[in-house]
Symmetry: C2
Subunit: 198 residues, 2 copies
């Protein structure tokens, strides 16, 4: 079937094959979950050869990752000089991107391929960690205690986002994003800082 | 096969059936993942009738949850009067319990059953949230700002634990638990608190 489709439409350029494979993988993730999103099924749905997919993605894991996380990292928040506001916008965008149905559909399967996750090197480019560091670095003077390690802060923020995405509904209380950001700000402010002392 | 085994060993008490089903489910989760841990497979492995399993657990989701999260909530940390120490022990125990192979094997499958997770009511009793609240409530005077909502703090801690458990290795930096707890303590301390001012 794949050959017939490809014959009929003419051989598309590689870029087009990539886009069709990614779109097909996204459709399959929503319709059939991770289990149904095999390279063969994607090839069939996209009307391309499986070998063409394997030329671009070494494994199904890599293909699913790129298909599901196509919107990662989320758009950059431009620092406004108001760290509270910037962090709220950052966390909202991050939660929203994770909450997409295609990401939700792919996450469990990606998680279960533990060894794949540990060895695959394609994740780093999807990380919002560099963006988060930039936001903190652009914060107004004295907003962030220089003793605080931005990576430890990012770990907390990432966790708060994941907790909203993976935790069962009746255990999760899902405090508002604003409340979570306020707590993170308390953690990163310089010690002893208060309006009275300025 | 199930009938033959049950016939041979005599009909065990219900409690024993429960234990055998849970043990079989745990074995299957490790060996065959969530996909292979069906009620039928568990019944076969445990040598019990599937109907006996359904009498105890309304669905495979409930059975897998109880099998995988048998050690939840982790043992209680007794407050020592040193909140930093208590929280470190709490988070370490929590991470360790989540990192068990059987929990890791079950998590993706449980996550993918989104609607099940949302409607199932068996999760609340596995939550460590009440335990965490107790730890904060037992903290020494002035260790915790009364303005801080313990549920928002718990959300951060839960997230930090999950981030260690579900995030791909090359994105995760996994700051030490001590560093994460120190940051959480900064967040919950009363404002303007410093040694100089006491």
């Amino acid at each position: 079937v794949a050959e017939a489709v490809e014959y009929r439409t003419g051989r598309p350029r590689d870029g087009s094959i990539d886009q069709r494979a990614l779109a097909a993988a996204r459709d399959l993730l929503i319709e059939a979950g991770y289990a149904g999103t095999t390279v063969q099924a994607v090839a069939r749905q996209a009307g391309v050869h499986a070998s063409a997919i394997y030329r671009r993605w070494p494994s199904r894991l890599d293909l699913v990752r790129d298909a599901a996380f196509a919107d990662f990292p989320p758009g950059r928040v431009r620092p406004t000089g108001d760290l509270r506001r910037d962090l709220r916008r950052f966390v909202r965008a991050y939660v929203k991107t994770f909450a997409q149905p295609v990401v939700q559909a792919a996450m469990p399967g990606l998680m279960s391929e533990q060894s794949g996750l540990r060895t695959s090197s394609g994740w780093a480019q999807l990380s919002v960690r560099p963006h988060f560091r930039e936001l903190l670095a652009a914060a107004p003077p004295r907003a962030v205690d220089p003793e605080v390690d931005p990576d430890v802060v990012f770990d907390l923020v990432l966790g708060a986002v994941l907790a909203r995405v993976v935790v069962p509904g009746d255990v999760r209380r899902a405090p508002s994003i604003d409340a979570t950001v306020d707590l993170v700000l308390r953690a990163i402010e310089p010690r002893g800082r208060s309006r009275r002392r300025r």
